[in-house]
Amino acid sequence: MDFVEVSNVTALNQRMRRVLSVFRTVAAHMSKHSGPSGESALHLSGRIGAIGRIVLAPIFADGVDLELLVLDELLLHAARPEQFSISGVEVRLAPKAAEWMSLAIHELATNAVKYGALSQSRAKIRVAWDVEIRLGVRILRFEWLETAVRMTDEAPLVPGFGSELVERVIARELKGEGKMLFLADGVRCSIDIPLSDSRHRHE
């Protein structure tokens, strides 16, 4: 096993810069949309936790397994196996992609606890992905689909951090495309990002 962070200092510095950029994104969002301060603190702490988990976890030299990443984030939100299904080909994400995807999945799972997909008995989440070649580039097509959720009135009217992350930040940082839709029976989030060969690049 070869840990990225011990293998060289440049990689470590790159990683630190990425972490700071994640924090800046979170901070910018929260200062624009400050809710009740107690709630903000709660969210901040959750997000720091999510960032910390992925950043402090050793990223193997050959990248992070997407399925494990999704499973871990669902586990953290105490999702029971019967509440979700996961299917997809084996995908290993480069560290930068793993960090942003991990934060996006954290936001989706947190919302799912808050608005129903992980807190209502009939609701289900289907997470699925595949890899497509477009113009010679491998593209990950990831989808988080909630069904049978009774959307409550508490659901946010203004786009939350999750939406901003998926639709704007991921496009910017990972040169991909994201869509977050609040449908009648749950959230449908799709994220398409190009996959770099994580074996040779640690960015």
Binding site: M1, F3, A57, P58, D62, L68, L71, L75, P81
Partner: protein, 250 residues
């Protein structure tokens, strides 16, 4: 008699021949239990103290709807709660995972040992404290660690515990658990366990061959799971500790 309890207590202190003989004398009531059979079930009268002589067992609790949480493992030399006979009925079950040999030490014998031999008593207290420290670490495991860390931590712990009773083969030890049992231990789904095992293998940290777990790189596995063997309190023999580290880096 090669009593693994004596081997285990020797990590803490040197027992006299008289003390060792006294323990052996109390371990004569031995019965064999098949794999996946209960040694004693929740609700049963407590009776004597169980000592695992051979095999592998676990302590577990079951919810009414059948979900099960394994809350402890027993390797040879482990006592299933030294003071259990103070209670009337078991609030949990003890089940064999591999075919096992189990000695039952009667409450009278436990009390007699403790009234007669102060050094032995302290050693038994030590083993109880270690058992409680392991339980605390397991709570941290399911409460805070992610799947890779949980499993890596558990595997490190098992190797150290087998080592403490001389039942390891270098960096290999017996792992008679199914993936479902690992899931019930680590609070993961079986899919998650399967995926996590694959990842540990892929990163060349472990190999699983039948019922044998081999840790290929102990230092890396410890680092991955933030494992620090201090909670096992085996450091009374400093030499041994250093040996483990040396093997891990090799």
């Amino acid at each position: 008699m090669n009593n693994p309890l004596l081997r285990k207590l020797s990590n803490f202190t040197a027992l006299s021949e008289e003390e060792s003989a006294a323990i052996d004398e109390c371990c004569k009531d031995v019965r064999e239990v098949g794999a996946r059979e209960d040694v004693i079930a929740q609700g049963d009268r407590t009776g004597g103290v169980k000592l695992l002589l051979e095999g592998f067992a676990c302590r577990y609790k079951t919810l009414e709807d059948g979900r099960r949480q394994i809350v402890a493992y027993f390797v040879p030399g482990d006592l299933c709660d030294l003071r259990v006979f103070i209670l009337k009925r078991m609030d949990h079950s003890i089940g064999a995972i591999a075919p096992s040999k189990i000695a039952t030490i009667s409450p009278d014998n436990v009390l007699r040992l403790m009234h007669t031999y102060p050094t032995l008593t302290t050693a038994l207290w030590w083993s109880t404290l270690v058992e409680e420290a392991i339980a605390r670490e397991w709570i941290v495991n399911v409460g805070q660690r992610n799947a890779l860390e949980r499993m890596a931590h558990l595997f490190c712990e098992l190797l150290y515990r087998y080592r403490a009773v001389g039942l390891n083969q270098d960096l290999s030890c017996t792992l008679p658990l199914t993936q479902v049992e690992l899931a019930e231990t680590l609070g993961l789904s079986s899919v998650h366990v399967n995926r996590t095992l694959q990842e540990l293998r892929r990163q060349q940290l472990i190999t699983l061959n039948g019922r044998t777990l081999t840790i290929q790189n102990l230092r890396a596995l410890e680092e991955l799971s933030l494992f620090n063997a201090e909670y096992l309190h085996l450091d009374y023999s400093a030499e041994k500790h250093r040996d483990v580290e040396r093997e891990g880096t090799g």
